[in-house]
Amino acid sequence: MDFSVNSNYDEKNNYWLINVAGEIDIFNSTEFKTTILELLEEKPTDIKIDCENLSYIDSTGLGALIAVLKKSKSYNKEICLKNVRPSLSKLFKITNLDKVFVIEGDVNE
């Protein structure tokens, strides 16, 4: 599946909702990071990343998420990942990033 990032600003609850789909790897992780960092610059609010349609993420994608987390912490904002698939949850656990990110609502594959 092709990689895509779609963002919507939820004015009522004051956060960015980002839907990410496809696979994040060394080829597109920089694009993924830049897109979210630009949203944070535009409006420094909390971020929710919906991973329901994210089928794969590698270490460079996790590195991109860490960079985004650092930036959002500098604004005292939070990042929440939701609907993470079990195969991806496993990667977060291996790298201990499950203790760093707020992860809610795992999806059964």
Partner: protein, 134 residues
């Protein structure tokens, strides 16, 4: 799947991040063909992808039009995978440790060798059926 005869599959890819997805797709297909379970296929695919990322980042970028090789060898219920690159740099790359951490967690063995011939990553995954004596 019991297998006494070695079956070897070789894949050569350009040192280009755009082709890592092709390595994942091929790996999934091979692991599926060899009878690995879905979770194991996912583990092998992820490990190969991380190893490809590792060699691409280690590539000596002054060498253009380079390629790296992936070799799959299935013998006695063990899938051995070798990933090699000739022109590499010793310089530590970003997220390198995370790549290795992921591979170590998902595969049964991991060995990284460097020599004048290049960089070589060897890893293996035992078929789950061997644990149960199938």
């Amino acid at each position: 799947m019991s297998n006494k005869k070695s079956e070897q599959i070789k894949l050569t890819l350009p040192v280009n991040a755009a082709y890592v997805s092709a390595a994942r797709l091929t790996t999934s297909s091979i692991a599926n063909r060899l009878g690995f379970e879905i979770d194991e296929i996912e583990d092998i695919k992820t490990a190969v992808s991380e190893a490809c990322t590792y060699v691409i980042k280690k590539h000596n970028s002054s060498e253009t039009n380079d390629s790296f090789k992936i070799c799959f060898d299935f013998l006695d219920n063990i899938l051995n995978i070798s990933i090699s690159l000739k022109n590499f740099s010793e310089k530590e790359s970003e997220n390198e440790e995370m790549s290795l951490l992921v591979i170590k967690a998902l595969m049964n063995t991991l060995e990284i060798k460097t020599s004048e011939e290049g960089l070589n990553i060897q890893m293996s995954k035992k078929h789950v059926s061997t644990f149960f004596g199938v």
